[in-house]
Symmetry: C2
Subunit: 447 residues, 2 copies
């Protein structure tokens, strides 16, 4: 396969056809294919990170719809048309994001209409949608927003409960072009309320793809892949490893005629993976260390207090981002200065003087202080040197202590981490959340 | 232009040629063109957000190199080859990210060699690079990592000081294919240390593109675009607006023969924009509200203490992510429970009982408490209902109070925000950082 000519590869029958074409010729049911076309010059200038593609892709994966290509183009008529046209030669479903705003730069409506060869028309439902948004927010509607009521003839709109720009679903034969705005929380609502149900109705056949992601902390990708070497060569289910942000993921994907059958295929493979590397497994699919740590605290009936120095509130912020976290999280102290450690956590000033702020005794005292001051079951502290400055030969950048306190028991972990400031802080938050999870899980009735 | 046939558009001379081809024909100097090919099935499944593209694009924009397309493909030989081949028909420089790891899934080396029509060879420098990484980290090298020493014949390696996988620069005539790993902090270092100097040496001509981004908080994109309507229609410089994450950006881009000339073209346009909407302007280019607030605090000689409820450490975490923030940031309290507000901030229990935790008097008391306990010049507090639960008709989800205290002076702002939990928390952090910036800037000697 690797010797194949490239031009031939790019135009090969497997890749150059849409699902319906392949089905027509081969008479088999293959999953529908989608492509994403992300629109916005700001992404190509690196001014914003494209988080929408992941939102859309997650939903499509959940429906068993393959995404083979994602193309990002600027707000440029010619290149938008080229990307959209190419996507329509390969995919059943093309989802765009961006370019639906009210400004002169926002060209998605015009380009979709031109590529589909239909005129743009003002849609009364869309107009009412835009106007009512401004009414509800007691703002006058700028004249430019009227353009947001235009849709390609024959298309239908996707209601946007959180913003002015309605989305668009335009059909061409069996194909659909689905246009969503670029604002993430508008897009997310529209995906869940309209696009996913639409795709289920029109594209999801009984052939099913089922996927499960296992998430690991504390083991590197190379080592994990080495331990799973034979499994990585399997064909159904397939097993693949991915390096995440200071964690590793393993995805198992099974294909079968029904969802139940595909799900059943996953079970023995997952069990084998757990047997080999289960010590490092912290969760599944949408789990994060903060959601899993929170569930463990809730199950144990524990409350948590934090004392953060180098992470500066990052751990607290991750915990608080989980809805319902007020049940187990009491609060924390961002003790960035020595005075804050003394004043807010009761760390003895002579302990700081004797050992320095980044030391095991101070980490222990911070954890105990947070636990006592807030009356929590578990106190967890972090003190370290995130850099880029502040390192010494004895205490280099990346040196971090994590302290835990529960009743009279305490424990301190010493880590030497690599990477830049952001990575050291993130890694520290991963390590602390994993320790919280492990301790609370060990205490919970169900083990 | 909008009536143009699409097939013709996709293959038009302007878009279907690389820079060298265009220059050869037209005899003019046009800026080099780059395309990005991001590799990783996990991106197409929505398991990770692609932040690398923004890192690469920022550097290219800084060099005046255009990026017209970014394509994301999975770890699939055929589709990787198709994306890379297509990029090479349009671009002078193709930068890939991902697929350089040690596993069976990592195919970038193989695909690049095949597309360029050269064999893969083991490079002794690359092998030493991989081996030395494991030596330095006192780990045995898994056999699979040996594959990371393979490069297309004739290519050179890009040192990777932070990981095992060296990058690759492979040439074909005037074109370069540059392969970088998918791990963000490895990629970033390699970009800055090797790729940017390489591109400067080989591709940056005297024709120059100069861009400046103005960042606004507190004004919506529609209104801003309306105020700048005539400027948005200009051709050189061009002016464009973008909705950010609870902020709006305006990019001014000028083209000229020299950098100085291009930079000079920006000045009058920027001045005009400042004249019209300067009240909302908080910064430029890589500025964020946390870096600007930090600069303002430093200039004023102030220190800051925080008391966060619904943001749960998000504001502190953003401030601490700025290197050197220990100069002005003393610390904060994440007072998530009422007890924490009483114990750590000295908020009177009867005030909480009388007004509730989400109220102006409690916000004020929290700000004063943080200021006094930590001995800071400025105390800033946040209390609100981030949802999804916890709202009432009187105090709906999205209600937020921000308190400020300095000496005997206090001030409380009431906000009613929209969106989901994450957006409300982010918006609150934007609002608080903007208030810190404004207050500190008003106090600084230079105004």
């Amino acid at each position: 396969m690797k010797g194949m000519g490239v031009a031939a590869v790019a135009n090969s029958a497997q890749d150059g056809q849409t699902n319906a074409q392949a089905q027509g010729q081969a008479g088999v049911t293959v999953p529908p294919r989608a492509e994403l076309v992300m629109i916005g010059t700001e992404m190509l200038l690196g001014e914003i990170i494209d988080s929408n593609a992941a939102r859309i892709a997650q939903r499509l994966a959940g429906l068993g719809i393959y995404v083979y290509f994602k193309t990002t183009v600027g707000d440029n008529w010619t290149r938008m048309a080229a990307a959209l046209s190419q996507a329509l030669t390969r995919a059943d479903i093309v989802i765009t994001s961006g370019g639906l705003g009210p400004t002169q730069d926002d060209l998605t409506r015009e380009v979709v209409a031109a590529v589909l060869g239909v005129p743009l028309v003002e849609d009364p439902v869309a107009l009412e949608h835009v106007e009512s948004w401004f009414r509800r927010h007691n703002r006058p509607m700028p004249a430019t927003n009227r353009k947001q009521a235009l849709i390609p003839q024959g298309a239908v709109i996707i209601p946007n409960p959180k913003g002015t720009a309605p989305g668009i679903i335009a059909r061409r034969g069996h194909q659909a072009v689905i246009c969503l705005p670029g604002v993430p929380y508008e897009l997310e609502t529209m995906l869940d309320e309209t696009v996913v149900p639409y795709l289920k109705r029109h594209y999801v056949t009984n052939g099913s793809l089922h996927s499960r992601v296992l998430k690991f902390y504390g083991i590197g990708e190379s080592l994990l892949a080495e331990r799973l070497d034979d499994l990585l060569a399997m064909e159904n289910p397939t097993v693949a490893t991915y390096a995440g942000r200071v964690e590793v993921r393993v995805r198992i994907t099974a294909r079968a005629r029904s969802e139940e059958e595909a799900a059943a295929l996953l079970v023995p493979v997952e069990e084998e993976i757990r047997r080999r590397v289960g010590d490092y497994l912290y969760g599944y699919d949408q789990d994060t260390l903060e959601t899993v740590a929170g569930q463990a605290l809730r199950a144990a009936g524990w409350t948590l207090a934090l004392a953060e120095s180098c992470t500066g509130g990052l751990i607290a912020s991750r915990i608080v981002n989980v809805p319902g976290s007020s049940e187990y999280f009491l609060g924390g102290v961002v003790a960035y200065s020595n005075d804050a450690k003394v004043e807010l956590l009761g760390v003895p000033a002579d302990l700081l003087a004797a050992h320095g702020a980044v030391s095991a005794p101070v980490a222990e005292a911070m954890a105990v202080g947070a636990m006592r001051r807030l009356g929590a079951t578990l106190g967890v502290s972090v003190t370290g040197i995130a850099g880029p400055g502040g390192g010494t030969p004895e205490k280099p950048v990346g040196l971090v202590y994590i302290g835990l306190a529960r009743g009279d028991w305490t424990e301190v972990h010493r880590l030497q981490l690599g990477g830049d400031r952001e990575r050291i802080r993130w890694h520290t938050s991963q390590a602390a959340l994993d320790l919280i999870r492990r301790h609370a899980q060990a205490a919970a009735p169900s083990g």
